[in-house]
Every structure is written in structure tokens, then in C-alpha cells.
């Protein structure tokens, strides 16, 4: 039954640097403060958060090394460590993941992203198009899964990867799994196919629950779970939340808006594009809770659930009814928002889950 409960994750992407997404990428700090991050991790453990996202990109430290350092300073929290196919050998990747599992006692999930900005991929020597990247990512995961299954030396010859006799001696170390939980970020048709084939959960941007339900049906039908990547602007009352949302974009200001005009021009991600398009609509309110107002300033991940604690619970269950069982949140700032979520929202969610589980129709 525990497995049926909703899972809540939080993003470390902007911890300690709330308005990070409003800055030009070349001016974002590449130096994170380990103590600040470690304190956030321990707070997340107290808050009942399942995992913390360590994002991948040229503006940041290496998510693996960073997760390992945080893992040795924490006890319960899982690390949702992001990787792109195309930056390392799948064999080395599995070796890194398994090493991280040994360091953390299995507290590692993987967020595989196909990437969204071809310009940045070229920094890493990756010159493939959107569709080719998905094809390569498919090959990448076939090799990874074969290594995790551990059924002898792995031979594979594809269009993008070739390995021969591959094996590694460091296993995935965990009490209950022989490979990490795999999250796949994406919104396109290819992302859905890939998630169905290789992932435990598709991480996707929100839409109105009904629209989303339609889009994710093939994923759910295949037994793969669906998680929402969404920001949270929750306050004691809905009016306070609306004020906070307005303040957020005022604070981000015109500079941030210019930054994201550029980001928008450089992305080939279906998800990012659709978030920007959604934000072009006359109304910034997709539903009573779902607000695109911050997207032009802080990017696609700033699509937000806005409201009171009760509103959040309502929104979360609307999405649960549409088939969503996991949520990956960002807040402004994260620490304050995560504490509010843990104190005011999460207990109500758990209570309602218990009620519906014990009801005859549950």
C-alpha cells in the first residue's frame, strides 16, 4: 500500500539562488555552496521529500560528484541525478551510478534528459538533432539495462553506441533494487515512447488535468508512472499566494524576460516550447491553480501551482485523478516553500490518501 502513495520530490536547481533562472546562463554561478545544499537535503529528509533533483548543464557542477558529496552527509534522502546521453559511455555511466549507490546505500534515482538546447550540447561534443538524440538515448538505455541485469558480458552494436564484452564489477547496491529508479524528462512523442520502454516514470510539464490525462494515457497504460515537473507558490491564503506570484515576476523584471526570449529561441524541446506557447495565451491561468505568468521570466519550469494549502491539495488530487502519481516541485525560495508544503500540504494529502484507501470504493 505504501507504494500507492504519491511521491514528492524537490529540485535543488535553484537552492540558495532563488532567482537563478532569471539570469543569463553565462552569468549563473557555477559554484554552489555545499553547506547550504547539505542543510537543504537534511531539511528535505525532515519534510518527507522522497528525492532531490540534481540538474545537469554547463552552468552547474557535475551532478554525480555533487550528489556523492551530499550523499555522504545525509541518511534518507534520494538523489535524482540528471544525466544526458551523449556525454559519456553508457558503461562508465552505469559504473558512476553504481558507485553512487555504494556511497549512499542505494539512494540514487536517475533523471535522463534528452536535452533542450542544441547550442549547449555542442559544448559537450554532441551534434545530433532532437530525433537522433532520442534514438541515441534509446541505445544508451538498452546498454545500461543490460549491464544492470547482469546477465553476462554485454555486446551491443547500434548506430550511436557499440560495446563489446562489457561488464563492471561494482554492482548497484540497494536493499531492494538491482538498478536505480529511472525518470525520463520529456514531453514529445519520442519521450513518451522512450519512457515506456526504459523508465519507471515520465517527468513532464503540467497542462490542464483533462488535457494532460489524454497525453499521458499511453504511458500509464504501459505501467510507467507519470510525474509533474511544476513550481509551487503556496501561502496560507489564496490571496497571499496571488500576491507572491505577482511579486515574483516584478522581482524577476525585464532582464529576466529578455533572457528567456533568448532561451526560447535556442530550444528544440517540445516541452519547453509548449510552456512558452501556453504563456502566450491571453490568460495566464490554465486552470484555477495552474499559472503560466512566471514562464516568460523564469522559463518553462516556472509553470506554477498557485494557491492556499487547500488549493494545493485540490490541485494535487485533480492530477492524481488524471493519473499523475509523482510531483517534482521548485519554490521561490525553495526552503520556505518546502517547509510550508511539509507543514500544511503534505499532511492533508496523506490524510486524504488514507481516507480514500479505507473507503469501500477506494
Amino acid at each position: 500500500m505504501d507504494d500507492m502513495r504519491l511521491r514528492f520530490h524537490w529540485s535543488l536547481s535553484a537552492v540558495g539562488d532563488t532567482m537563478r533562472r532569471g539570469k543569463a546562463q553565462t552569468t549563473m554561478s557555477g559554484a554552489f555552496d555545499l553547506d547550504t545544499h547539505a542543510a537543504f537535503c537534511r531539511e528535505a529528509e525532515r519534510c518527507g521529500i522522497d528525492s532531490l533533483l540534481m540538474a545537469f548543464g554547463f552552468t552547474r557542477p557535475d551532478p554525480f560528484t555533487w550528489s556523492a558529496a551530499l550523499g555522504s552527509r545525509t541518511e534518507k534522502i534520494n538523489f535524482l541525478t540528471a544525466i544526458r546521453s551523449g556525454v559519456c559511455s553508457p558503461t562508465l555511466f552505469v559504473q558512476q551510478v553504481n558507485t553512487l549507490s555504494v556511497i549512499t546505500g542505494g539512494r540514487v534515482y536517475i533523471n535522463i534528459v534528452a536535452g533542450r538546447a542544441p547550442g549547449e550540447h555542442a559544448y559537450y561534443g554532441d551534434f545530433l538533432s532532437h530525433d537522433e538524440r532520442y534514438e541515441r538515448t534509446d541505445e544508451f538505455w538498452r546498454i545500461c539495462h543490460a549491464l544492470w541485469r547482469g546477465d553476462g558480458p554485454v555486446d551491443f552494436t547500434g548506430r550511436h553506441y557499440r560495446v563489446e564484452g562489457a561488464r563492471i564489477n561494482t554492482p548497484f547496491l540497494s536493499a531492494d533494487r538491482d538498478r536505480p529508479r529511472i525518470y525520463l524528462g520529456g514531453n514529445s512523442e519520442q519521450a513518451i515512447q522512450l519512457a515506456v520502454r526504459h523508465a519507471d516514470c515520465l517527468l513532464t510539464f503540467p497542462d490542464a488535468p483533462k488535457v494532460l490525462a489524454e497525453r499521458i494515457r499511453p504511458v500509464l497504460d504501459s505501467g510507467t508512472k507519470v510525474g509533474l515537473l511544476v513550481s509551487m507558490i503556496a501561502k496560507p491564503t489564496r490571496d497571499e499566494a496571488l500576491d507572491a506570484a505577482a511579486e515574483l515576476i516584478a522581482k524577476a523584471g525585464d532582464t529576466a524576460r529578455d533572457v528567456h526570449r533568448n532561451v526560447r529561441g535556442g530550444t528544440d524541446s517540445v516541452g519547453f516550447r509548449s510552456m512558452y506557447q501556453m504563456a502566450d495565451n491571453d490568460s495566464a491561468w490554465v486552470t484555477r491553480y495552474l499559472w503560466t505568468g512566471a514562464v516568460p521570466y523564469l522559463g518553462a519550469p516556472a509553470i506554477s501551482l498557485v494557491g492556499s494549502a487547500d488549493d494545493m491539495v485540490e490541485a494535487i488530487f485533480e492530477y492524481r485523478d488524471a493519473g499523475v502519481t509523482e510531483f517534482l516541485f521548485t519554490g521561490f525560495p525553495d526552503l520556505e516553500q518546502m517547509r510550508f508544503f511539509a507543514a500544511e500540504v503534505l499532511p492533508r494529502v496523506r490524510e486524504r490518501e488514507r481516507e480514500s484507501a479505507s473507503s469501500p470504493t477506494g
Binding site: 558503461t91 559537450y124 562489457a166
Partner: protein, 379 residues
Amino acid sequence: MATNSRMRFHWSLPPVAATNRLRGVNSGPVPDQAANLQGQLEFCRRADTLGIDSMLLPIGYQRPDPVTLAGVFGAATENLRFMVAARSGVVSPTYFVQQINTVSALTNGRVSVNAVLGHSSAELRYYGDFLDHDERYRRTDEFWTICDALWRRDFPVDFAGDYLRVEGATINNQFVSPERSSPEVYFSGSSEQATRITLAHGDSLLCIAEPPDELAKRVQPALDGGVEISIVCTQLSRPTRDEAVRAAYDIAREAAERSKNARQHFRRDKVESEGFQRAYELSERDSLWTTPYLWSGLVPYMGPPTVAMVGGPDEIVDAIFEYHEVGVSQFLFQGRPDLDTLIFFGEEILPRIRRREDASATSNGPPTASSAGKDGGHG
């Protein structure tokens, strides 16, 4: 000034429980990974307190990933640095620099790199690397050309080679260190190609130990080019030379019993590297003792890095200074058993080396004065 000219001593992290003196004969998966990691961490802490300069974290399919380990071990130590082994064919150079910079931020710059070419094509194919030895050198050169540019922060970095290409490369996290803007880089190898690539991109050439006079000739071009010479070998040190020799023969006998086919196995797999080739040749000479302290009796069973410096503290100190005379300034050791040897070196041998260095630094006499300053010298 004396401190800067001091020799530096590195140690190689043992793969398994550090008390097994036969490790390396038959390598298989480690039974308890978590306990082993803890054991390795303790080993690093011990090296840290004993004044070892850096710990090599080797790379290979038998091992955990060295970059991931470096940050974790780094957090548990104060002064010990971590020499992360790296292959050029398994990771984007941009991502690699990002990883090393992350380790530098976690350790305040206590990270260096051991660039290895890979000595087994079969193993490299596990990782998707199908190039031959010479092609790997050319790719390695491209790899480090990109890395160097990223460390100079010559952004954006554009490079198009035969094997690697990046465009507009930028990374925001910097190499963090009180002294340097990039890590020290050690290139492993003994061929002319290795020397060339070290001169182009490295700080030190890391060679497998061979007799000093033979080594001297080989490394002269590297010394002339201004890079340091480091040697890698096993140290079989005991309180007296007799005990050390007896221990060496015991280990060889037990190793022989354990792995009858080891010689053929190693020869078949690993003959591509010139340094390895030469180590095997040493082990096939009429005498396994190529100098009074350099013994190649373990090489057939445990591989080339087990060319061994054998002796009591005095012989080991003399041997180290013999290498120093021909231009070697850094030593990378492993021991059998690992932990006991590390402690014995740190407590009994290293202090003698430092005293002798200090003595020769304060004497302004002719070169022969240095040998007069050595501890208790009998040859």
C-alpha cells in the same frame, strides 16, 4: 625553498581489503562493497596523517568510478590529494573538466589527474572505445587540447579534430584551488608518444620503475622539456632487508600456487603498452634482481605495477635517492600488504627521507656531500 624541492610520495588505493597481500592475483567482484568503501576511506585517512601527498584512484571495470569517489574521500581528509585516473575515450572532455572542477570545489583543489591510455583494448571495448594504441594517443592529444583550453577559460572553446569536436564550449564551474587554475596532470606511459603528450599537456611523466640507468636515458627528453618524472612501483619494505626478501619470495610462491596460468593471461591481455612490455622483459631476464633492490618476481602473477622496490628502510631510502639522482622527483607506491606497508613507509622511511633531504639542502658542498648525509648507510 627546501619544501618545494622535496620529493613527493603518492600511494595507489588498494581495490580490496587492505590487509590481503595476495590481492591482484585473482581479481573478482568485491563481496561487501559498502564495507570495502569504508575500508578504503580509512586507508585514505591514514595516508593523510602519514604525509602522503596524494592517493591514486585507479580506473577500470573492476573498480568504482574514481571521480565519484574523489569528492567523498576528499571530504573525509585534510591534506591528502586525489589523483583521479582518466581515459580519454569514455567521456566528453567538457563533462570531464566539469567533473574535475566539481571535485576541486569539494576539496579546495586537492585533485590531480592521471591520464592513462588504457593498456587493454579488450577492456576499452567494454566502454565503447575501439581505437588502436596509436589512434588512442592522437585522440588523447585532442582530448587534452580541449581540456587545457577549458581550464584556461578561453571561452567559447571551438575545436574540431579527427576524433573530438566541440563548439562554443563554456562551463561555469571553475577549478578551485589556492595555487592553480587547473589540476596537475600525470601521463602514464613509457613510449616516445607518452613523452610528447606529457610535454604538450602534462606536469609529469609517470613511468613503471626500471633500473635507474636505463630509466635515466629514457626520461631525459622529458626532463629536458621541463616536466617532472614520477615512477610507479610496489614497495616491499620490512624492518630488515632479509625480512623483506623473505616476504617477497613468500608472496611470489603463494601467488604462483594460486594462479598457475597467470603469466600467460597477463602477457596475452596487456602487451600493447610499451611500459608493460618492458616490465615483462625485466621479469624474464636471468636474474629477477635488476639492481640490489629492484625485483620483478611478482610481475608474472600480479602485473607490471608490481615491479618491486625491496628492502629495509635503509635500502628503500637509498633506492629512492638513486632515482632522485637521475631526475625522479615523485614516487607512486603500492604495498603488499597495502596498509602495513603504507604505515611502515610513513613512520619508518619517510622521516629518514625528509632528514636526508634537509641535510643535503643545508650543505653547500659538492654533490658527494649528499651521500654523506644519509642515515646509517650500508649499501
